[in-house]
């Protein structure tokens, strides 16, 4: 056991700092820091810079051009990138579809789609959830019927994050309704420019437009866009979900957010003293910081144990729950810290959103972030689903 960084790891941290100093534009960092939505162009530009540096496919296997970062490297990059308020990479192609294609896709699919993820030719989004299929994902109804060398897709997906930017969507579709739910699902890649695909915005409670409904009406998809075997999609979906959770702890985000809370608490006046001198508020900060110190080590342990490219199982569910709890607690502290000035608010969707809003602590919309991040315990397999998994695995073996 050794908790200290090796010289190589420290050297890598310097590399990362230099990269961020050189490549991260202040206006983009400000948008990230203040929680203002990044434009599609902002995100694409950042992907391009990371790709040029060879760090976009940081967690991909080498044989697909990946950097195969270890636990320490991942953690160092995440920590530095979050501290500098660099944009987060869009995970749908990089960390969700790619692992599936790499494990289950055909040579042709790998050769065609993987490079396009890195070079930005495609922006992927995810077609999993449906209005009637949330936690119970396997009950999905969106149908794909074979017609010659095409599938004809009809149905609806929802909670499709950044679908408004995407040109491609990977979908779980029902290709057999006569078998056990899990056995009639296939994994399909769909071009969103195909006739019959319609994207409708969903406005969230903080007024942001980040998720969408995607409707499919007689959408014709070439059979070569089927990943793996027909009706084996559930296997691929579960594989994807464990990968989706590997970075869910969000240690870097939490550290940066907690630093921001402390910064505000040092300047905010509370009964004639700095808020940070209020023992009850300071106690809240300390408790979450202690939790974060522990979870950072948990995340490192778990990723290290799982090994490069591999996805941890049970522990990933634990990290997902604790990671979301910690981030949500910090979001609570950050709105709490600004006091009455958490109330002023102009939503993207609202008239006059361009009018100036007082932000004396220069932190952006802390209340909006708090409400928006309630999603952390809901999406990507709700915390309840994660607890079901943990109980099933840990109690199941004993029966």
């Amino acid at each position: 056991m050794d908790l200290s960084y090796t010289p190589e790891e420290e050297a890598f941290r310097v590399e990362v700092k230099e990269f961020l100093a050189a490549e991260l534009k202040p206006d983009v960092a400000d948008k990230v820091r203040l929680g203002r939505g990044l434009s599609k162009a902002d995100t694409e530009a950042w992907h391009a810079k990371l790709n040029a540096r060879g760090w976009l496919a940081a967690n991909w296997p080498a044989k697909f051009g990946g950097a195969e970062w270890g636990a320490a490297q991942r953690q160092i990059y995440e920590e530095e990138a979050c501290a500098a308020y660099a944009p987060r990479t869009v995970p749908f192609g990089l960390s969700m579809l790619a692992p599936v294609l790499q494990k289950f896709g055909s040579k042709e699919q790998q050769d065609h789609w993987l490079p396009r993820i890195l070079n930005g030719a495609d922006w992927w989004c995810q077609g999993y959830s449906e209005p009637g299929a949330g936690s119970d994902l396997a009950s999905l109804k969106c149908k794909a019927e074979r017609d010659g060398d095409h599938y004809v897709v009809n149905g609806q997906k929802t909670w499709t994050t950044l679908g408004q930017h995407a040109n491609m969507i990977f979908c779980l579709v029902r290709t057999d309704s006569d078998v056990k739910q899990q056995e009639g699902i296939s994994f399909l890649l769909i071009d969103m420019d195909t006739p019959g695909v319609e994207v409708r915005p969903i406005i969230l409670l903080d007024g942001t437009h980040e998720v969408n409904e995607v409707w499919f009406t007689d959408v014709r998809v070439p059979v070569e866009n089927l990943v793996g075997e027909e009706n084996k999609g559930w296997t691929y979906a579960k594989y994807l979900l464990t990968h989706e959770r590997t970075n869910i702890a969000g240690v870097g985000f939490s550290k940066a957010a907690l630093d921001s809370v402390k910064r505000v608490a040092r300047v905010a006046n509370d009964n004639g003293r700095p808020l940070i001198s209020n023992p009850h508020f300071a106690g809240r900060i300390a408790r979450v910081e202690m939790d974060l110190m522990a979870m950072e080590t948990s995340a490192l342990r778990i990723i290290a144990a799982a090994g490069a490219g591999e996805a941890p199982g049970l522990e990933a569910s634990m990290l997902k729950v604790k990671g979301s709890e910690i981030r949500q607690e910090i979001n609570d502290l950050s709105r709490r810290a600004v006091g009455p000035y958490a109330m002023p608010f102009a939503s993207e969707a609202m008239e006059g959103s361009n009018q100036p809003i007082p932000d004396p602590f220069d932190v952006g919309d802390t209340a909006g972030d708090y409400f928006n991040n309630r999603k952390l315990s809901i999406f990507g397999g709700s915390n309840e689903v994660q607890k079901n998994i943990i109980a099933k695995v840990t109690l199941g073996g004993r029966r």
Binding site: S129, G132, G134, S135, D136, S139, T158, W159, I202, I203, L204, L205, D206, G207, A268, N269, D270, N271, G272, L275, N278, H280, F281, R284, Q328, D332, R335, R336, G339, P340, Y341, A342, M343, P344, F345, A346, S347, A349, M350, E351, G352, Q355, P356, I357, P358, P360, D365, A367, G368, Y370, F371, R374, K375, S377, I378, F379, S382, N383, E384, K387
Partner: protein, 377 residues
């Protein structure tokens, strides 16, 4: 001891609930939320006609109520429907201060307030003051019969719609002294009074109010110079009772929506309300609701007590509601899942009302510390 509502209060409560369920559904309210004005004149007039505003004032002031439970009954119903109209700020806070300290001439405005024709705003908090009621740096400078007001007031609710402001300013004492603070009744169209308005995340609008040498006559002074703090504290206590009851009503709606969703939403081939983990969390929400209701009763029931007793119950209830409110808002959203994250679903607005209530009049930590101070006092 007696825990039954009077017939009059029960009737008012029933009437108000019927009116709001007819006139204030989610769609209507969300349209009001996105309107430039931020509230509806029609609803305001409607509430006035129902006597809702009158219920918040004593008979001496032309109303027919004004007690802690009158306020609680009205605001629980307003909260249940997520009403964003500026009843608390116009009537309980500004109007309440006026009723407590104004002379007969000044009190004349209460009549038109009760009638629904006048809007008031309470301009007290300042950019640096956070939740500290005695932190007033706005100064009132009196020169031969005229008073000049200079300073900045922060997040003043209902600022843009107000016809009159009740403004606190210092006529003596150091910053954060309780002594030396005076209230003034200031016309909204005064020269030197400017408003930077903006919407609020939980609905309604507020503004940063700048007083740049605003001139008012001495007759604009409410009560004796520098003696207003006890009145401010009393008006705040009434406002806290109103906000607590409003939040309680909103929490009731959050629970109702969640219970309905639990029995209708199907996952894994059964209503999610059949899953014991959710059943127990729902039960815990209802247990905390009982605690919250009792805390509101304690606050409303002691609004007429001596300062320490009154403020101890106010701070206990406010702190408790901050804690329970967050629990109920977060649990309601979590048990709903994605649907509760969408702006068009009723719970989204209700949850924002509940959570953001902790950002006015002192949050749960502020009142925890205050409760401790009052307990040793």
């Amino acid at each position: 001891m007696d825990f039954k509502l009077t017939e009059e209060r029960q009737m008012l409560s029933d009437t108000l609930r019927r009116y709001l369920s007819d006139k204030y559904d989610t769609k209507t309210r969300n349209a009001i939320l996105e309107s430039d004005k931020g509230f509806s004149d029609e609803i305001w007039t409607g509430l006035a006609e129902l006597g809702v505003i009158g219920a918040l004032f004593s008979e001496d002031d032309g109303g027919f109520g004004g007690g802690g439970f009158d306020i609680a009954v009205v605001f629980e119903e307003l909260g249940r429907a997520g009403v964003v109209e500026p009843m608390l700020d116009s009537a309980v806070l500004a109007g309440g201060a006026l009723a407590r300290i104004g002379n007969s001439a000044q009190k004349a405005h209460i009549e038109s307030l009760i009638g629904g024709e006048t809007q008031l705003a309470f301009a007290h908090a300042e950019p640096q003051s956070r939740y500290d009621l005695s932190d007033v740096q706005t100064v009132a400078d009196t020169q031969d019969g005229a008073v000049l007001l200079t300073g900045r007031k922060a997040v003043v609710m209902n600022a843009e719609a107000a016809d009159w402001f009740v403004v606190s300013a210092r006529e003596g004492g150091e910053a954060r002294d309780q002594n030396g603070i005076t209230l003034f009744l200031v016309p909204a169209d005064s020269d030197g009074l400017t408003i930077q308005g903006y919407p609020l995340i939980s609905g309604g609008r507020a503004g940063e109010v700048t007083l740049d040498g605003v001139q008012v006559p001495e007759s604009a002074r409410l009560g004796m110079p520098g003696m207003a703090f006890p009145v401010i504290e009393e008006a705040m206590a009434a406002a806290v009772v109103a906000q607590l009851a409003e939040t309680l009503g909103a929490m009731g709606t959050a629970c109702e929506l969640t219970q309905d969703y639990l029995v209708t939403r199907q996952q894994f081939g059964r209503p999610i309300g059949t899953f014991q983990a959710l059943q127990h969390r729902m039960a815990e929400m209802l247990i905390e609701m009982e605690q919250a209701r009792s805390a509101v009763i304690n606050a409303a029931g002691h609004i007429g007590s001596d300062r320490v007793v009154r403020e101890r119950h106010i701070s206990a209830a406010k702190s408790l509601m901050g804690r329970i409110g967050r629990l109920i808002a977060e649990e309601a959203i979590q048990m709903h899942g994605g649907i509760a994250m969408t702006q068009e679903y009723e719970l989204a607005h209700i949850a924002k009302r509940i959570v953001m209530a902790d950002h006015r009049f002192g949050d749960q930590d502020f009142h925890l510390e205050r409760f401790l101070d009052l307990s040793v006092a």
